[in-house]
Protein backbone atom coordinates (compact mmCIF):
# COMPACT_ATOMS: atom_id res chain seq x y z
CA UNK A 1 0.00 0.00 0.00
CA UNK A 2 1.37 3.34 -1.08
CA UNK A 3 0.48 6.66 0.57
CA UNK A 4 1.49 9.82 -1.29
CA UNK A 5 0.64 13.49 -0.69
CA UNK A 6 -2.05 14.96 -2.93
CA UNK A 7 -1.11 18.50 -2.02
CA UNK A 8 -0.92 19.66 1.60
CA UNK A 9 -4.50 18.79 2.59
CA UNK A 10 -4.96 15.31 1.12
CA UNK A 11 -3.17 12.00 0.62
CA UNK A 12 -3.73 9.39 -2.05
CA UNK A 13 -3.85 5.86 -0.69
CA UNK A 14 -3.22 3.20 -3.33
CA UNK A 15 -4.79 0.00 -2.00
CA UNK A 16 -4.65 -2.09 -5.19
CA UNK A 17 -2.45 -2.42 -8.26
CA UNK A 18 -3.27 -3.80 -11.70
CA UNK A 19 -6.79 -2.57 -12.16
CA UNK A 20 -7.10 -3.92 -15.70
CA UNK A 21 -6.29 -7.53 -14.78
CA UNK A 22 -8.47 -7.68 -11.68
CA UNK A 23 -10.99 -4.84 -11.52
CA UNK A 24 -13.35 -6.69 -9.14
CA UNK A 25 -10.60 -7.38 -6.58
CA UNK A 26 -9.39 -3.79 -6.82
CA UNK A 27 -12.90 -2.52 -6.18
CA UNK A 28 -13.39 -4.87 -3.23
CA UNK A 29 -10.14 -3.65 -1.66
CA UNK A 30 -11.08 -0.01 -2.20
CA UNK A 31 -14.55 -0.47 -0.68
CA UNK A 32 -13.15 -2.34 2.32
CA UNK A 33 -10.48 0.31 2.92
CA UNK A 34 -13.06 3.08 2.49
CA UNK A 35 -15.21 1.56 5.25
CA UNK A 36 -12.28 1.01 7.59
CA UNK A 37 -10.95 4.54 7.14
CA UNK A 38 -14.42 5.95 7.71
CA UNK A 39 -14.84 3.91 10.89
CA UNK A 40 -11.39 4.95 12.19
CA UNK A 41 -12.56 8.59 12.62
CA UNK A 42 -9.04 9.97 12.33
CA UNK A 43 -8.98 13.53 13.75
CA UNK A 44 -8.87 16.21 11.07
CA UNK A 45 -10.18 14.00 8.26
CA UNK A 46 -12.77 15.79 6.14
CA UNK A 47 -13.71 13.21 3.56
CA UNK A 48 -12.78 10.09 1.61
CA UNK A 49 -12.99 9.83 -2.16
CA UNK A 50 -12.61 6.35 -3.72
CA UNK A 51 -11.69 5.80 -7.38
CA UNK A 52 -10.61 2.54 -9.09
CA UNK A 53 -7.51 1.58 -7.08
CA UNK A 54 -7.16 4.54 -4.74
CA UNK A 55 -8.84 6.39 -1.93
CA UNK A 56 -8.09 10.06 -1.47
CA UNK A 57 -8.25 11.16 2.15
CA UNK A 58 -8.81 14.90 2.57
CA UNK A 59 -7.77 16.46 5.86
CA UNK A 60 -7.31 19.78 7.60
CA UNK A 61 -3.84 19.90 9.19
CA UNK A 62 -5.02 22.50 11.72
CA UNK A 63 -7.84 20.25 12.93
CA UNK A 64 -5.48 17.24 12.92
CA UNK A 65 -3.16 19.12 15.30
CA UNK A 66 -6.13 20.09 17.49
CA UNK A 67 -7.00 16.37 17.51
CA UNK A 68 -3.58 15.28 18.73
CA UNK A 69 -1.22 15.31 15.73
CA UNK A 70 2.24 16.74 16.49
CA UNK A 71 2.40 20.28 15.09
CA UNK A 72 5.85 19.72 13.59
CA UNK A 73 4.92 16.58 11.68
CA UNK A 74 1.33 15.95 10.67
CA UNK A 75 2.19 13.75 7.61
CA UNK A 76 3.98 10.99 9.54
CA UNK A 77 1.28 10.95 12.21
CA UNK A 78 -1.44 10.74 9.54
CA UNK A 79 0.31 7.94 7.65
CA UNK A 80 0.64 5.98 10.87
CA UNK A 81 -3.09 6.46 11.62
CA UNK A 82 -4.02 5.33 8.11
CA UNK A 83 -1.81 2.21 8.26
CA UNK A 84 -3.23 1.41 11.69
CA UNK A 85 -6.80 1.70 10.37
CA UNK A 86 -6.05 -0.53 7.40
CA UNK A 87 -3.84 -3.08 9.17
CA UNK A 88 -4.97 -6.62 8.56
CA UNK A 89 -7.69 -5.67 6.11
CA UNK A 90 -8.59 -8.52 3.84
CA UNK A 91 -10.97 -7.96 0.97
CA UNK A 92 -12.15 -11.60 0.95
CA UNK A 93 -12.66 -12.04 4.66
CA UNK A 94 -14.41 -10.07 7.35
CA UNK A 95 -14.40 -6.88 5.28
CA UNK A 96 -16.61 -8.34 2.59
CA UNK A 97 -19.73 -6.22 2.47
CA UNK A 98 -22.48 -6.73 -0.01
CA UNK A 99 -23.22 -3.49 -1.78
CA UNK A 100 -26.66 -2.51 -2.94
CA UNK A 101 -27.99 -3.54 -6.33
CA UNK A 102 -29.59 -0.75 -8.33
CA UNK A 103 -31.77 -1.47 -11.34
CA UNK A 104 -31.68 1.15 -14.05
CA UNK A 105 -34.27 1.18 -16.85
CA UNK A 106 -32.97 2.14 -20.28
CA UNK A 107 -34.85 3.02 -23.43
CA UNK A 108 -32.85 2.21 -26.58
CA UNK A 109 -35.09 4.21 -28.97
CA UNK A 110 -32.90 5.41 -31.91
CA UNK A 111 -33.69 9.01 -30.97
CA UNK A 112 -32.03 8.43 -27.58
CA UNK A 113 -29.35 5.93 -28.59
CA UNK A 114 -27.95 7.92 -31.46
CA UNK A 115 -24.66 5.97 -31.55
CA UNK A 116 -26.19 2.49 -31.18
CA UNK A 117 -25.63 1.69 -34.87
CA UNK A 118 -21.97 2.66 -34.66
CA UNK A 119 -21.43 0.55 -31.56
CA UNK A 120 -23.16 -2.35 -33.34
CA UNK A 121 -20.96 -1.94 -36.43
CA UNK A 122 -17.83 -1.82 -34.28
CA UNK A 123 -18.88 -4.99 -32.45
CA UNK A 124 -20.04 -6.63 -35.71
CA UNK A 125 -23.44 -7.26 -34.18
CA UNK A 126 -26.99 -6.09 -34.87
CA UNK A 127 -28.34 -3.25 -32.67
CA UNK A 128 -30.69 -5.75 -30.96
CA UNK A 129 -27.78 -8.06 -30.19
CA UNK A 130 -25.94 -5.10 -28.66
CA UNK A 131 -28.95 -4.33 -26.45
CA UNK A 132 -29.24 -7.97 -25.31
CA UNK A 133 -25.51 -8.28 -24.64
CA UNK A 134 -25.47 -4.95 -22.80
CA UNK A 135 -28.43 -5.94 -20.61
CA UNK A 136 -26.76 -9.27 -19.74
CA UNK A 137 -23.77 -7.52 -18.16
CA UNK A 138 -23.18 -7.38 -14.43
CA UNK A 139 -21.91 -3.91 -13.69
CA UNK A 140 -20.28 -2.26 -10.71
CA UNK A 141 -19.56 1.37 -9.98
CA UNK A 142 -15.79 1.92 -9.77
CA UNK A 143 -15.91 5.64 -9.34
CA UNK A 144 -18.30 8.60 -9.43
CA UNK A 145 -16.95 11.81 -10.84
CA UNK A 146 -16.20 13.90 -13.94
CA UNK A 147 -19.42 15.73 -13.12
CA UNK A 148 -21.72 15.29 -10.14
CA UNK A 149 -23.29 11.84 -10.13
CA UNK A 150 -21.55 10.43 -13.22
CA UNK A 151 -20.93 6.70 -12.53
CA UNK A 152 -18.02 4.94 -14.19
CA UNK A 153 -19.16 1.31 -14.53
CA UNK A 154 -16.97 -1.73 -14.98
CA UNK A 155 -18.23 -5.04 -16.30
CA UNK A 156 -18.98 -4.08 -19.91
CA UNK A 157 -18.92 -7.24 -22.09
CA UNK A 158 -15.57 -6.90 -23.89
CA UNK A 159 -17.20 -7.26 -27.31
CA UNK A 160 -19.00 -3.96 -26.72
CA UNK A 161 -15.87 -1.92 -25.92
CA UNK A 162 -15.90 1.02 -28.36
CA UNK A 163 -13.33 3.82 -28.51
CA UNK A 164 -14.46 7.29 -27.50
CA UNK A 165 -15.59 9.53 -30.35
CA UNK A 166 -12.80 11.49 -31.97
CA UNK A 167 -14.65 14.76 -31.57
CA UNK A 168 -16.61 15.04 -28.32
CA UNK A 169 -20.21 16.28 -28.64
CA UNK A 170 -20.96 19.71 -27.23
CA UNK A 171 -24.14 18.51 -25.60
CA UNK A 172 -25.24 15.10 -24.40
CA UNK A 173 -28.77 15.00 -22.89
CA UNK A 174 -29.23 14.09 -19.22
CA UNK A 175 -29.79 10.36 -18.66
CA UNK A 176 -27.80 9.32 -21.75
CA UNK A 177 -26.13 5.93 -21.41
CA UNK A 178 -22.74 5.76 -23.08
CA UNK A 179 -19.81 3.49 -23.84
CA UNK A 180 -16.30 4.92 -23.65
CA UNK A 181 -13.58 2.36 -24.29
CA UNK A 182 -14.00 -0.52 -21.84
CA UNK A 183 -16.24 1.49 -19.55
CA UNK A 184 -19.86 2.44 -19.56
CA UNK A 185 -21.61 5.24 -17.75
CA UNK A 186 -24.59 7.56 -17.57
CA UNK A 187 -24.59 11.34 -18.03
CA UNK A 188 -26.52 12.63 -14.99
CA UNK A 189 -27.02 16.12 -16.39
CA UNK A 190 -26.77 17.71 -19.83
CA UNK A 191 -23.07 18.08 -20.57
CA UNK A 192 -20.42 17.82 -23.27
CA UNK A 193 -19.01 14.33 -23.76
CA UNK A 194 -17.17 11.94 -26.05
CA UNK A 195 -18.79 8.60 -25.26
CA UNK A 196 -20.95 6.59 -27.67
CA UNK A 197 -24.58 6.98 -26.65
CA UNK A 198 -26.72 3.84 -26.88
CA UNK A 199 -29.84 4.77 -24.89
CA UNK A 200 -31.36 6.90 -22.15
CA UNK A 201 -32.70 6.34 -18.64
CA UNK A 202 -35.63 8.30 -17.22
CA UNK A 203 -34.07 8.05 -13.74
CA UNK A 204 -32.50 11.10 -12.18
CA UNK A 205 -28.92 10.20 -11.20
CA UNK A 206 -28.07 13.50 -9.55
CA UNK A 207 -30.32 15.78 -7.53
CA UNK A 208 -28.70 18.56 -5.46
CA UNK A 209 -31.99 18.94 -3.51
CA UNK A 210 -31.37 15.52 -1.96
CA UNK A 211 -28.62 14.42 0.37
CA UNK A 212 -26.95 12.20 -0.70
CA UNK A 213 -27.36 13.84 -4.10
CA UNK A 214 -26.29 10.83 -6.17
CA UNK A 215 -28.21 7.64 -6.97
CA UNK A 216 -25.01 5.59 -7.15
CA UNK A 217 -21.76 5.33 -5.25
CA UNK A 218 -18.57 3.32 -5.70
CA UNK A 219 -19.16 -0.35 -5.01
CA UNK A 220 -22.84 -0.43 -6.04
CA UNK A 221 -23.95 -3.15 -8.45
CA UNK A 222 -25.98 -2.04 -11.44
CA UNK A 223 -28.38 -4.02 -13.59
CA UNK A 224 -29.97 -2.58 -16.71
CA UNK A 225 -33.52 -3.28 -17.83
CA UNK A 226 -34.72 -2.43 -21.33
CA UNK A 227 -37.91 -0.35 -21.45
CA UNK A 228 -40.16 0.86 -24.27
CA UNK A 229 -40.51 4.46 -25.37
CA UNK A 230 -43.98 4.49 -23.71
CA UNK A 231 -42.59 3.35 -20.38
CA UNK A 232 -39.80 5.93 -20.68
CA UNK A 233 -42.28 8.77 -21.24
CA UNK A 234 -44.43 7.54 -18.32
CA UNK A 235 -41.42 7.42 -15.96
CA UNK A 236 -39.99 10.85 -16.75
CA UNK A 237 -40.63 13.12 -13.82
Amino acid sequence: MQITPLGDCAVLIRVAENFDEAPEQALQKVIAAHRRLGAAKIPGVIELAPAYTTIALFYDPVRAIDGGAPAENVPDWLEHKIREALAGSDSRGADYVKNSVVEIPICYDPEFGFDLDEVAQHAELSPNEVIDLYAAGNYRVHCVGFIGGFPFLGGLPSKLATPRRETPRKEIPAGSVGIGGKQTGIYPVKSPGGWNIIGRTPLRLFDPQKNPPGLLRAGDQVRFRAISREEFERSVT
Partner: protein, 328 residues
Protein backbone atom coordinates in the same frame (compact mmCIF):
# COMPACT_ATOMS: atom_id res chain seq x y z
CA UNK B 1 -34.38 42.95 3.59
CA UNK B 2 -33.01 42.98 0.09
CA UNK B 3 -30.13 44.62 -1.71
CA UNK B 4 -30.31 45.23 -5.44
CA UNK B 5 -27.52 44.56 -7.90
CA UNK B 6 -28.05 47.65 -10.06
CA UNK B 7 -25.19 46.36 -12.21
CA UNK B 8 -24.10 42.76 -11.68
CA UNK B 9 -20.62 43.12 -13.18
CA UNK B 10 -18.69 40.68 -15.35
CA UNK B 11 -19.10 37.61 -13.15
CA UNK B 12 -20.48 37.99 -9.65
CA UNK B 13 -21.67 34.91 -7.78
CA UNK B 14 -22.84 34.03 -4.28
CA UNK B 15 -20.12 32.04 -2.53
CA UNK B 16 -19.43 30.73 0.96
CA UNK B 17 -16.85 28.21 2.13
CA UNK B 18 -18.22 25.52 -0.18
CA UNK B 19 -19.39 21.93 0.20
CA UNK B 20 -17.18 19.32 1.80
CA UNK B 21 -17.84 15.61 1.99
CA UNK B 22 -19.46 15.10 -1.41
CA UNK B 23 -16.50 14.19 -3.60
CA UNK B 24 -17.59 10.56 -3.63
CA UNK B 25 -20.65 11.78 -5.56
CA UNK B 26 -18.51 13.82 -7.91
CA UNK B 27 -19.39 17.17 -6.32
CA UNK B 28 -16.43 19.54 -6.17
CA UNK B 29 -15.95 21.64 -3.01
CA UNK B 30 -16.47 24.96 -4.83
CA UNK B 31 -16.91 28.02 -2.63
CA UNK B 32 -14.90 31.25 -2.54
CA UNK B 33 -11.62 30.86 -4.44
CA UNK B 34 -10.00 32.70 -1.53
CA UNK B 35 -11.81 31.26 1.49
CA UNK B 36 -9.45 33.09 3.83
CA UNK B 37 -10.43 36.47 2.33
CA UNK B 38 -14.13 35.68 2.74
CA UNK B 39 -13.61 34.55 6.35
CA UNK B 40 -11.73 37.76 7.16
CA UNK B 41 -14.36 39.94 5.44
CA UNK B 42 -17.13 38.14 7.34
CA UNK B 43 -15.36 38.64 10.68
CA UNK B 44 -14.95 42.33 9.86
CA UNK B 45 -18.72 42.83 9.48
CA UNK B 46 -19.71 40.76 12.51
CA UNK B 47 -20.80 37.64 10.56
CA UNK B 48 -19.90 34.05 11.22
CA UNK B 49 -16.94 33.09 9.03
CA UNK B 50 -18.85 30.73 6.68
CA UNK B 51 -21.58 33.29 5.85
CA UNK B 52 -22.33 33.71 2.14
CA UNK B 53 -20.95 36.78 0.39
CA UNK B 54 -20.30 37.83 -3.18
CA UNK B 55 -17.35 36.77 -5.28
CA UNK B 56 -16.73 39.58 -7.75
CA UNK B 57 -14.65 38.97 -10.87
CA UNK B 58 -13.12 42.02 -12.63
CA UNK B 59 -15.50 44.40 -10.85
CA UNK B 60 -18.39 46.16 -12.54
CA UNK B 61 -20.70 45.57 -9.57
CA UNK B 62 -22.97 48.28 -8.19
CA UNK B 63 -25.21 47.20 -5.35
CA UNK B 64 -27.87 49.34 -3.62
CA UNK B 65 -28.87 48.76 -0.01
CA UNK B 66 -32.39 49.11 1.35
CA UNK B 67 -31.33 49.23 5.01
CA UNK B 68 -28.22 49.86 7.11
CA UNK B 69 -25.55 47.22 6.75
CA UNK B 70 -21.91 46.80 7.65
CA UNK B 71 -19.81 45.71 4.68
CA UNK B 72 -16.16 44.87 4.02
CA UNK B 73 -14.31 43.47 1.07
CA UNK B 74 -10.97 41.72 0.53
CA UNK B 75 -9.25 40.78 -2.72
CA UNK B 76 -7.34 42.33 -5.63
CA UNK B 77 -6.32 45.94 -6.10
CA UNK B 78 -9.81 47.30 -6.88
CA UNK B 79 -11.33 50.80 -6.73
CA UNK B 80 -14.30 50.52 -4.42
CA UNK B 81 -16.67 53.23 -3.14
CA UNK B 82 -19.74 53.77 -1.01
CA UNK B 83 -21.40 56.57 -2.94
CA UNK B 84 -18.40 58.80 -3.68
CA UNK B 85 -16.52 57.80 -0.51
CA UNK B 86 -13.58 55.53 -1.25
CA UNK B 87 -13.49 52.21 0.63
CA UNK B 88 -10.14 50.41 0.78
CA UNK B 89 -9.98 46.64 1.20
CA UNK B 90 -10.10 45.23 4.71
CA UNK B 91 -11.97 48.12 6.35
CA UNK B 92 -15.44 47.57 7.78
CA UNK B 93 -17.82 50.35 6.75
CA UNK B 94 -21.42 51.33 7.34
CA UNK B 95 -23.69 51.64 4.30
CA UNK B 96 -26.98 53.35 4.90
CA UNK B 97 -30.34 52.70 3.36
CA UNK B 98 -30.39 53.94 -0.26
CA UNK B 99 -26.61 54.03 -0.66
CA UNK B 100 -24.64 52.20 -3.35
CA UNK B 101 -21.47 50.19 -3.07
CA UNK B 102 -19.53 49.94 -6.32
CA UNK B 103 -16.31 48.18 -7.22
CA UNK B 104 -14.36 48.72 -10.43
CA UNK B 105 -11.27 47.96 -12.51
CA UNK B 106 -8.58 46.16 -10.54
CA UNK B 107 -5.02 47.40 -11.13
CA UNK B 108 -3.65 44.05 -9.95
CA UNK B 109 -5.60 40.84 -9.45
CA UNK B 110 -9.10 40.05 -10.66
CA UNK B 111 -11.30 38.88 -7.77
CA UNK B 112 -12.78 40.38 -4.63
CA UNK B 113 -15.04 39.02 -1.88
CA UNK B 114 -17.70 41.26 -0.41
CA UNK B 115 -19.16 40.42 2.99
CA UNK B 116 -22.46 42.03 4.00
CA UNK B 117 -23.63 41.88 7.62
CA UNK B 118 -26.39 39.29 7.91
CA UNK B 119 -24.98 37.39 4.94
CA UNK B 120 -26.74 36.59 1.67
CA UNK B 121 -29.71 34.39 2.33
CA UNK B 122 -30.11 32.14 -0.69
CA UNK B 123 -31.37 28.54 -0.21
CA UNK B 124 -28.90 25.98 1.09
CA UNK B 125 -28.08 23.08 -1.25
CA UNK B 126 -26.04 20.19 0.14
CA UNK B 127 -24.99 22.19 3.16
CA UNK B 128 -23.85 25.33 1.35
CA UNK B 129 -25.11 28.51 -0.30
CA UNK B 130 -22.21 28.53 -2.79
CA UNK B 131 -23.02 28.76 -6.49
CA UNK B 132 -21.86 25.70 -8.41
CA UNK B 133 -21.68 27.41 -11.81
CA UNK B 134 -20.66 24.21 -13.61
CA UNK B 135 -23.42 21.98 -12.26
CA UNK B 136 -25.91 24.87 -12.13
CA UNK B 137 -27.18 24.77 -8.55
CA UNK B 138 -26.74 26.78 -5.36
CA UNK B 139 -26.40 30.55 -5.00
CA UNK B 140 -28.74 32.56 -7.21
CA UNK B 141 -30.48 29.78 -9.17
CA UNK B 142 -27.16 28.10 -9.91
CA UNK B 143 -25.82 30.99 -11.97
CA UNK B 144 -24.10 34.36 -11.79
CA UNK B 145 -26.00 37.41 -10.51
CA UNK B 146 -27.84 39.40 -13.21
CA UNK B 147 -28.40 43.14 -13.60
CA UNK B 148 -31.26 44.39 -11.46
CA UNK B 149 -31.54 41.24 -9.41
CA UNK B 150 -32.45 41.42 -5.71
CA UNK B 151 -30.45 39.61 -3.07
CA UNK B 152 -32.17 38.57 0.13
CA UNK B 153 -30.04 39.40 3.17
CA UNK B 154 -30.08 37.71 6.58
CA UNK B 155 -30.71 39.45 9.89
CA UNK B 156 -27.90 41.61 11.31
CA UNK B 157 -26.28 39.85 14.27
CA UNK B 158 -25.98 41.62 17.65
CA UNK B 159 -22.31 42.07 16.88
CA UNK B 160 -23.08 43.67 13.50
CA UNK B 161 -25.56 46.02 15.18
CA UNK B 162 -22.92 47.08 17.73
CA UNK B 163 -20.45 47.56 14.90
CA UNK B 164 -22.96 49.65 12.92
CA UNK B 165 -23.41 51.96 15.93
CA UNK B 166 -19.66 52.45 16.38
CA UNK B 167 -19.40 53.32 12.67
CA UNK B 168 -22.36 55.74 12.73
CA UNK B 169 -20.12 58.84 12.80
CA UNK B 170 -16.84 57.81 11.17
CA UNK B 171 -18.50 55.43 8.66
CA UNK B 172 -15.26 53.56 7.91
CA UNK B 173 -13.32 51.62 10.55
CA UNK B 174 -9.71 52.69 10.92
CA UNK B 175 -8.39 49.24 11.84
CA UNK B 176 -7.79 46.49 9.33
CA UNK B 177 -6.22 43.05 9.07
CA UNK B 178 -2.69 42.44 7.69
CA UNK B 179 -2.31 43.74 4.13
CA UNK B 180 -1.69 40.31 2.56
CA UNK B 181 -5.04 39.14 4.00
CA UNK B 182 -7.11 41.98 2.64
CA UNK B 183 -5.16 42.29 -0.60
CA UNK B 184 -3.44 39.04 -1.56
CA UNK B 185 -2.87 39.94 -5.23
CA UNK B 186 0.76 40.16 -6.35
CA UNK B 187 2.32 41.24 -9.64
CA UNK B 188 4.29 38.32 -11.15
CA UNK B 189 3.78 36.05 -8.14
CA UNK B 190 5.84 32.99 -7.27
CA UNK B 191 3.57 30.18 -6.12
CA UNK B 192 5.05 27.54 -3.85
CA UNK B 193 4.39 23.90 -4.64
CA UNK B 194 5.10 20.44 -3.38
CA UNK B 195 6.10 17.73 -5.84
CA UNK B 196 3.24 15.73 -7.36
CA UNK B 197 2.85 11.97 -7.10
CA UNK B 198 3.04 11.56 -10.89
CA UNK B 199 6.12 13.75 -11.38
CA UNK B 200 7.84 10.67 -12.84
CA UNK B 201 5.26 10.61 -15.65
CA UNK B 202 6.83 13.82 -16.87
CA UNK B 203 10.45 14.15 -17.97
CA UNK B 204 13.07 15.41 -15.48
CA UNK B 205 13.42 18.37 -17.83
CA UNK B 206 9.69 19.15 -17.38
CA UNK B 207 10.08 19.53 -13.60
CA UNK B 208 13.12 21.80 -14.09
CA UNK B 209 11.24 23.88 -16.66
CA UNK B 210 8.23 24.13 -14.35
CA UNK B 211 10.26 25.46 -11.45
CA UNK B 212 12.54 27.76 -13.47
CA UNK B 213 10.41 29.31 -16.18
CA UNK B 214 7.74 31.95 -16.20
CA UNK B 215 4.29 30.93 -17.43
CA UNK B 216 1.52 33.10 -18.84
CA UNK B 217 -2.07 32.82 -17.73
CA UNK B 218 -4.26 31.81 -20.67
CA UNK B 219 -7.60 33.58 -21.36
CA UNK B 220 -9.49 30.26 -21.11
CA UNK B 221 -8.87 30.14 -17.34
CA UNK B 222 -11.86 30.12 -15.00
CA UNK B 223 -12.99 28.90 -11.56
CA UNK B 224 -12.15 25.33 -12.61
CA UNK B 225 -8.52 26.07 -13.29
CA UNK B 226 -5.78 28.43 -14.40
CA UNK B 227 -4.49 27.30 -17.79
CA UNK B 228 -0.88 28.17 -18.44
CA UNK B 229 0.97 29.00 -21.64
CA UNK B 230 4.73 28.90 -21.87
CA UNK B 231 7.36 26.26 -22.38
CA UNK B 232 5.80 22.87 -23.14
CA UNK B 233 6.17 20.29 -20.37
CA UNK B 234 7.06 16.92 -21.87
CA UNK B 235 5.50 13.74 -20.55
CA UNK B 236 7.20 10.36 -20.66
CA UNK B 237 4.04 8.83 -22.09
CA UNK B 238 1.09 10.14 -24.10
CA UNK B 239 -1.16 7.70 -22.27
CA UNK B 240 -3.25 9.08 -19.44
CA UNK B 241 -3.45 7.36 -16.05
CA UNK B 242 -6.33 5.59 -14.37
CA UNK B 243 -8.49 8.39 -12.94
CA UNK B 244 -7.94 9.27 -9.31
CA UNK B 245 -8.70 12.20 -7.07
CA UNK B 246 -7.41 15.68 -7.85
CA UNK B 247 -7.76 18.75 -5.63
CA UNK B 248 -7.58 22.53 -5.84
CA UNK B 249 -3.88 23.30 -6.22
CA UNK B 250 -3.12 20.23 -8.33
CA UNK B 251 -1.05 21.03 -11.44
CA UNK B 252 -1.98 18.59 -14.21
CA UNK B 253 -0.11 18.07 -17.44
CA UNK B 254 -2.40 17.12 -20.35
CA UNK B 255 -0.90 15.59 -23.54
CA UNK B 256 -0.43 19.04 -25.11
CA UNK B 257 2.13 19.86 -22.39
CA UNK B 258 0.34 23.01 -21.20
CA UNK B 259 -0.11 22.71 -17.42
CA UNK B 260 -3.42 23.42 -15.70
CA UNK B 261 -3.51 24.64 -12.09
CA UNK B 262 -6.82 23.40 -10.68
CA UNK B 263 -9.05 25.67 -8.58
CA UNK B 264 -12.15 25.02 -6.44
CA UNK B 265 -14.61 24.14 -9.22
CA UNK B 266 -12.29 21.48 -10.69
CA UNK B 267 -13.48 17.96 -11.38
CA UNK B 268 -13.13 15.58 -8.47
CA UNK B 269 -11.08 13.06 -10.46
CA UNK B 270 -8.61 13.25 -13.31
CA UNK B 271 -6.31 11.07 -15.36
CA UNK B 272 -3.61 13.55 -16.38
CA UNK B 273 -0.25 13.22 -14.58
CA UNK B 274 -0.07 15.40 -11.47
CA UNK B 275 3.27 17.19 -11.69
CA UNK B 276 2.88 19.40 -8.62
CA UNK B 277 0.47 20.79 -6.04
CA UNK B 278 0.44 24.51 -5.24
CA UNK B 279 0.24 24.86 -1.46
CA UNK B 280 -3.10 25.83 0.07
CA UNK B 281 -1.59 28.97 1.59
CA UNK B 282 -0.77 30.31 -1.89
CA UNK B 283 -4.08 29.48 -3.62
CA UNK B 284 -5.52 32.94 -2.79
CA UNK B 285 -2.66 34.43 -4.82
CA UNK B 286 -3.45 32.03 -7.68
CA UNK B 287 -7.11 33.12 -7.50
CA UNK B 288 -5.99 36.65 -8.43
CA UNK B 289 -4.22 35.62 -11.66
CA UNK B 290 -5.67 37.11 -14.79
CA UNK B 291 -5.06 36.47 -18.49
CA UNK B 292 -1.53 37.42 -19.66
CA UNK B 293 -0.19 37.62 -16.07
CA UNK B 294 3.18 35.96 -15.49
CA UNK B 295 3.48 33.36 -12.76
CA UNK B 296 6.40 31.29 -11.48
CA UNK B 297 6.63 28.24 -9.26
CA UNK B 298 9.05 27.27 -6.51
CA UNK B 299 9.29 23.97 -4.63
CA UNK B 300 8.87 23.71 -0.84
CA UNK B 301 8.43 20.78 1.52
CA UNK B 302 5.10 19.49 2.77
CA UNK B 303 6.12 20.38 6.32
CA UNK B 304 6.74 23.98 5.24
CA UNK B 305 3.32 24.06 3.56
CA UNK B 306 1.71 22.91 6.81
CA UNK B 307 3.76 25.33 8.89
CA UNK B 308 2.62 28.43 7.01
CA UNK B 309 -0.99 27.26 6.88
CA UNK B 310 -1.14 26.56 10.63
CA UNK B 311 0.59 29.84 11.43
CA UNK B 312 -1.97 31.81 9.43
CA UNK B 313 -4.78 29.93 11.15
CA UNK B 314 -3.35 30.87 14.56
CA UNK B 315 -3.07 34.49 13.42
CA UNK B 316 -6.69 34.38 12.26
CA UNK B 317 -7.76 33.06 15.67
CA UNK B 318 -6.00 36.01 17.31
CA UNK B 319 -7.63 38.38 14.87
CA UNK B 320 -11.04 36.86 15.68
CA UNK B 321 -10.32 37.32 19.39
CA UNK B 322 -9.27 40.92 18.77
CA UNK B 323 -12.52 41.73 16.97
CA UNK B 324 -14.59 40.11 19.71
CA UNK B 325 -12.76 42.18 22.32
CA UNK B 326 -13.17 45.34 20.24
CA UNK B 327 -16.94 44.85 19.98
CA UNK B 328 -17.56 44.06 23.64
Amino acid sequence: MKATAIRAGFLTSVQDLGRAGLREFGVSPGGALDPHALRVANLLVGNKEPAAGLEITFGGLRIRFADDRVIAWCGGDFEACIGSMRLASGHAALVQSGEDFSIESPAIGCRAWLAISGGIDVPVFLGSRATDLKAGFGGMNGRAIRDGEQLLLGENSERSKTLAETLRTGRIASWKPPHNWSNPAQPEPVLRFIRGSDADHCTAEAMKTFSRSGFFVSPDSDRMGVRLDGPRLERTSEKDLLSEAVAPGTVQVPPNGRPILLLNDCQTIGGYPKLAHVITFDLPIAAQLRPADTVRFSEVTLLEAHRVLCERERDLQQFRGGIEWHLK
